[in-house]
């Protein structure tokens, strides 16, 4: 099942900005974060297809998952 994973800010360091992933069915957003060795505590915002999502959600084929650390501005 193919999805797109995007990382932002310092989550990109020694990882990537954007990749196509082939994931098993029933994989959760949390599983993906864990497999990237990102501490869930450091995650500020998760978006799937441009809407907020949660660690428990299971991505579907074609989904775009964006993972941000705690950031802000204004």
């Amino acid at each position: 099942m193919k999805i797109t994973v995007k990382l932002f800010a310092y989550f990109r360091d020694n990882r990537f900005s954007i990749e196509e992933w082939d994931i098993e069915p029933n994989t959760t957003v949390g599983n993906i974060v864990d497999s990237l060795h990102i501490d869930r505590e450091e995650v500020g915002v998760l978006m799937m297809n441009h809407k907020h999502t949660k660690f428990e959600v299971q991505p579907q084929t074609g989904d775009i998952l964006a993972i941000f650390p705690v950031v802000g501005g204004g």
Partner: protein, 575 residues
Amino acid sequence: MVDKIFRVNMTDLTTSVEEVPEAWAGHGGRGLTSTIIAEEVEPTCHPLGKNNKLVIAPGLLSGTVAANSGRLSIGAKSPLTGTIKESNAGGTSAQLLAKAGCKAVIIEGLPKEDKWYSLAITPAGVTIKEETERIGMGNFDVIKSISPEHDNKIGILTIGQAGEMKMTSANISIQDPDGGLRSCGRGGLGAVMGSKKIKFITIDPEGGKVDIADPAKFKAANRTFAKALAGHPISQALGAYGTNVLVNIINESGGLPTKNFTQGQFADHEAISGETMVDLINERGGKAKHNCHAGCVIQCSQIYNDAKGNKLTSGIEFESVWAMGADCCVADLDCIAEADRIMDDIGIDSIETSVAMGVAMEAGVLEFGDGVEICRILRDEVTKGTALGRIVGNGTGSVGRSFGVTRVPVVKNQAIPAYDPRAIKGMGITYATSTQGADHTMGYTITTNILNVGGQVDPLSKEGQIELSRNLQIATAAIDSTGMCLFIAFAVLDDETCLPALVDLLNARFDIALTIDDVMSLGKHILKLERKFNIAAGFTAADDRLPEFFYDEPLAPHNVVFDFTAEEIDSFWNF
């Protein structure tokens, strides 16, 4: 040193030093500028006429060692919006003005003769001098000519050519610790200073210090406060990436206004993102971290060098990058930084002017994406005050009216900043109801709509947005009175030690016994006072609306419109 009111009458060129009236004693920053304007300025006056007043006030904690307390508030009736206005910025002047024993400067009247002046502020009061040599100069030359060695003991406020020409997007610039500029950007306050024929103001506290009623309590409170600020992960991210880290996250949310507010995402967002900007800054020997005033523990500013390693601009903010970048479709950070520098030098609001360029692009004055032409228009038209330059320099609404464009993103004639109100609905409530026209900083719902700070309110749903915007607008009015940078809000919302420490700082400074409820009551009072001024100036609920196109042009990728009814918007004021 006991604080005084410094009054300057430009009609008869006299100055005076006055006791602080009891009713003003508990106010500072925005609370004080708005209180003075509400009391002394006729709401129906012409903003550029003899009856408007320019009020400059440090915050209640300015001049102390309290972390992040270096914001200076400047207020007047705005020539851009016609509403009451307060615009605040960092730089060194708030701290120096407080150390000079000045609670506020009130500048009134208009000179009878066609001459320019400067003001010199010391603890003894204000001296007016005729000014000739710096007229027509940009802000950087003004600062260099006054303080060639960047003397940080002297504060400088200045207007560029835009302010001299009374353009309604003109700002007032404040020298930062490195001779760079911070701007009281919004609402055309530079035009008010220009109408009073004041080119620049210097502030020399002559070694003066701010009295602290209870130094031990103050020190302890500041330790807790600074720790809460510096320890918050958003503070750390702001230091690492600057505010421009928001390009990618707002783009991902589908709320990044693009191509004059016709799309919610910019295909070239990576090229202008905070991540790309920091890489470029590091490659070119700039500074990713930089403070706009002494005592800032966040350091969201930066120094951006050109490809040859020479300083191009500093303090380039997300809103400026978004406006020149996504809204005008310019995918070139160097070009955006150059435009930012020119706008700093001319002394013109980088949000208003850039959004105006987006409308000019829709009108066909120039092509979307043509950053070179933007810089040319700024240099050759706005700086010189040609007809096109004045149309642009008078803001987004001016460009829309001049060229017959109907998609003009303004509220109360002030340009809407970097968050589309259709996809981030809390911001729409803030834009509509703000007492000062569209302004993200008045009630920054991005915290809770996007960043998951202070809870979560779905940006695409109407639910909870009015209450969110109301609470943030009240808290912001209070924070804007302290002289604190608004970026303390992230820690205030998330860290339970932060707000009590801020209240303790106020209590220790003045030997008073404020509670958190008192501070929130102050915020409510300021908002209602500002609204009362606007109503007396002729504004009604019908002005608290977004432009028509937000209600009937769906925004991709979510294909949403702004769908609050008039009654729902008006319920904002039920407090």
